[in-house]
Symmetry: none
Subunit: 208 residues, 4 copies
DNA sequence: AATGAATGAGGATTCATTCAT
DNA sequence: TATGAATGAATCCTCATTCAT
């Protein structure tokens, strides 16, 4: 299942992600920085990529795939919806730098830069046409949850996906806010988020 | 209350926003493009701004202020929470380009570009230290709603603000998705969002 | 004898000289700096001068005239050649900043900047066509000295002027050297310079 | 002993010096002109130099080293002080353009431009801390001359160095003066300068 | 006469990309 | 295949000068 990446290709991805995690501005990354960090020659990068944009776009895309894959594996090991959501939120906390990359990827989807165009291109290629990136995963989790039960209308499904998505997404945003850095606070909010999701799903099912 | 803007200053702001709305990539805007569009000389811009970054940052900040001001006025005319949220969502639909600017502003807050640094600077200057931009508005709406009722814990308040914020935010994201372009679909989802918010607030109050 | 200077004209001259004495680089002086320092509007300067170059050139020329005039007055009060040379060297020490301006003026004579062209223009206008700037003064001093004696050949005169000129000039250069800052050292060298000049003039006269 | 210069580095130096010799104003040299003349790309220059200033400063410094080296070799081949001084003056006449570069270098030492700051930096690096540039050479010549004789006081040495320096320097200035362009005139003055130097050194030795 | 806001030509510098080795 | 020296297009910013007030 795992696509095999060429070593130099991976080196570029890791270099881009590392530079980003160290606070570099994506739009001002230079090829020299990237290849320098990757430990390969500038010209070599052009043997694997058509240009700077492709390097950056694919790096973030690569990270997205890695994270989602790993996240989904973890989710599958949990049985209740509460635990699944909780697991995701905890992972977000645990891997803040990688999550920042994910957030940047999401932002790029609504940008107009040439990197963004590449990202959209990649999504089309992979035929990943979700409501929002990674929302497919949420849909799968929801369908799992509803297995054996009456399936709600497409409209309701969409709403639920968005509802869960938005909560998870905003939990991530909150993690970056200086005001919510204590473990206790986070735990409380996390609980409320998980409860909120569970309650909403239940209610939606009742309403059918 | 409204800060007065110098004509050339405003011309720059409108030029930046117009270019952005027409699909320009913020990170590749040139001073020549901006001043050309604003109808002023290149050098003139530097009489009002220290550099390109300041122009762009302040343009988006300006738009943010305008939109929030207008939005809050509209919210105040609505009496129920449902109507208030509905009004906001409708406005988002009605003014998609301006909302895109707002979204871009939000994204910039978590970027590392020099424009972003300017934006954060501006927020500090104005002493706007909210959980998230514009979240102060939601908090005010909530407090209005709870007037005369028992005030919930700070934790719960924070959660409610985030919950509402995330739903509104994601509704905005959904508006940009090709899949949800029919007026009917939107209406349905909008209703679900408003109901979801109301229900969650009610339940939170019950739980106190 | 003293040409009358208009107040704003003088203001410009003093501003240029002050900025130079404060360490500004002549070639990077801006009109804004000059007029700002002179306390007049930028446009006003253009009522008196055709451009930046003229301002700077005339400012240094003005300083040259002032210094030479004053120097010559002082020289006339001394009777012996030794005292005259000694007076000049002492004045150089006393007014180092103004001398720096003179040195800069000399340098400009052999430059190719537009300011330099202006300076050469000014010299021509005033019909000051000396071997070197201010060398006319030395020639006059020499002629005074030789009054009543046999006048040497033009060749010898030229050589003497150059010889004196070069010693005075280099004493000025030495003043700027970190190594010769003690009053005692200077006094000794000054004495040697004055003696050297006197001896050379005497010998030249003997040789006739 | 000769530091090896990279080809493109040398190309830049020669381009700067050629442009200067053709009458360009150092302070208005553009990188485009320099690289154009050097026959290399604009960007290439920045692989070797940190900026325009470094290019120009190092070019003049390079010329200074070349000229001094060559001059000193020639001096060593002459036996009498008269011949040594005469050789230097003749060389100055023969290589007027290169001497102009040297003069410009001297002037730069007392300027405040960014090029000048570079030059001073370079001198410090090379630990060349003479009274004046190239004055070290004069000191060496003097010490050679005094070999086997009683060495005069440091004060006298300094004075002699300055005295010789100033005559040579001013002879160079004279060469540029329109009034002294005939070979005969020059020869006469040159003779007087050489004699003057010799006499002064002799007298100084007598006075010990 | 005096001003300074407005201008835009001009130039230093950066950096993605190429290509000879 | 891997490289990095060379390139020049692209762009920010400065500042002399103008001109309406």
């Amino acid at each position: 299942m795992n696509k095999e990446y060429l070593p130099k290709e991976k080196a570029i991805y890791h270099a881009v992600l590392a530079l980003f995690e160290e606070g570099a501005d994506i739009n001002n990354l230079t090829v020299a920085e990237i290849t320098g960090r990757a430990g390969i020659g500038k010209g070599t990068a052009y043997e694997y990529f058509s240009g700077k944009e492709e390097m950056i776009a694919k790096a973030f895309f690569y990270n997205g795939e890695m994270v989602c894959e790993q996240l989904y594996e973890g989710i599958c090991k949990k049985s209740s919806l509460y635990d699944k959501i909780n697991y995701v939120l905890l992972e977000m906390e645990r891997q803040i730098p990688r999550m920042d990359c994910i957030f940047r990827l999401l932002h790029m989807l609504s940008e107009n830069s040439s990197v963004s165009r590449w990202i959209r291109e990649l999504l089309k290629e992979k035929k990943i046409a979700e409501e929002a990136p990674a929302s497919g995963m949420i849909r799968k989790v929801l369908l799992d949850e509803l297995k054996g039960k009456k399936i709600p209308s497409e409209e309701t499904m969409t709403y639920l996906v968005f509802s869960i998505y938005s909560r998870v997404f905003c939990y991530g945003m909150m993690l970056k806010n200086e005001k919510y850095q204590s473990a206790e606070q986070r735990e409380n909010i996390r609980d409320l988020v998980c409860q909120g999701v569970c309650r909403e799903v239940e209610e939606a099912l009742c309403r059918i």
